[in-house]
Subunit: 248 residues, 2 copies
């Protein structure tokens, strides 16, 4: 199967490596530098334009940040037949799913592998990133498209989880976006206290575990949090209520 | 060296195992059930009363919950010479350090091994619990007492960290007590949402790491949080400010 991956960062790069290893022909769409590195590492067969990807690939995977993925989706709608199977790996699903519906892209399946890492970029990518991990997939207009994306997920070791875009965005706000904000705030509160800063050696494994996410890239996260702003606000309110109750 | 340990839970039991393994004579003070289990496991040489511990041991370690430790300290003051070396393993230091000063116990060294676990009780104890872990020790009136407790800490693999009771309580509020409250609140916020509860399979390793502490025993934690209430409130305020800034 020929699969095009647009954006060869941590997730796109890992997916390219995993699919190539499974014998698929992987085309990469990215800037010249990342394409060169991915080709040199054997992660992709060749680098192509989005137009070439739309005509040559059977499945196109959008693996750029959320706003870019939506722009790419609009470009693809102008280049590709409506039944082209397209999926994305973004952390928020409602907006892109609605955009695909508006564009009449019946072959679009929203996707989100639950396989983040503190590190980012192609240099941190690994063919094993998705092994055993859940991978959210939103219902599509086309059953055939759903089946093909499910097969792709399984072929790289992921566990497909069918979930509506609404339930997904609610759940990741509480299970992923809120914990990300909390990790930053825990680290900032400790580092902001002069006495504590001199005794960070008293931090145990609990504190290490709870601030590991604080190393995640802020730029990408800012975009994700804005993309899911209403659900993130709701999660913050629920968390604040729970924190007040716990502290009684 | 003969060492008495009062309270054979996770920390007291682990300390008993570690010291016995190093060839010390360990006396246990606890209820009959725990003493029987500790003797059967070879963690202690024998079970004794607090009075016997005060006269036979060179060092007495208080390893009960904070309020009980302060009561035991008052009892010891009536039983033992003022120069008896006494230390504790409680999570909060100001109150017990002040109580020891009030009682004229010059041989008291406040201690806190940074080696908690989600599990508790003698059944979870291990001779390796303190290996490589920091162990806070407060300054004492007696240099000799400080040196003896430092040697005890090192003999079980801990890293002594000399810190004032005030700095300790500030630091653990931010590095341990606040994370504990946050872990409960993250879990409660997610579990309290019906949609999310149906999709807990979307939780990644980040969420698992950040809620691991939520399994800690609530009863003991309630007592610890009340013991450090002013610093915990200060930490909660700093955290809330940092969370608001992170969420912008």
């Amino acid at each position: 199967v020929t699969i095009a991956i647009v954006g060869l960062g941590l997730v796109g790069g890992s997916l390219a490596r995993a699919l190539t290893r499974r014998g698929h022909r992987v085309l990469g769409v990215d800037r010249p530098g990342p394409l060169r590195r991915a080709r040199r590492d054997g992660a992709i067969a060749s680098g192509v334009t989005l137009r070439a990807a739309a005509s040559e690939a059977e499945i196109v995977v959008l693996a750029a940040p959320p706003l870019t993925n939506r722009r790419l989706l609009r470009q693809l709608a102008a280049l590709a037949p409506a039944r082209l199977v397209i999926t994305d790996v973004g952390s928020v699903k409602r907006k892109i799913v609605r955009e695909a519906a508006r564009l009449g892209l019946r072959g679009f399946v929203g996707g989100h592998p639950m396989a983040g890492r503190e590190r980012s970029g192609f240099a941190s990518s690994s063919a094993d990133l998705f092994r055993g991990r859940p991978w959210a997939l939103t219902p599509a207009r086309s059953r055939r498209a759903e089946a093909r994306v499910r097969a792709l997920v399984r072929s790289v070791g992921g566990r497909p989880v069918r979930v509506s875009a609404e339930a997904h965005d609610r759940a990741v706000a509480l299970l992923s976006h809120l914990p990300q904000l909390v990790a930053w705030a825990l680290l900032a509160a400790a580092a902001g206290d002069a006495l504590t800063r001199r005794h960070l050696d008293l931090a145990g494994p609990g504190f290490q575990d709870m601030t590991r996410l604080a190393k995640s890239p802020r730029g990408l996260w800012g975009e994700i949090l804005r993309e899911n702003e209403d659900e993130v606000r709701r999660a913050l309110r629920a968390f604040s209520r729970a924190l007040s109750r716990a502290a009684l």
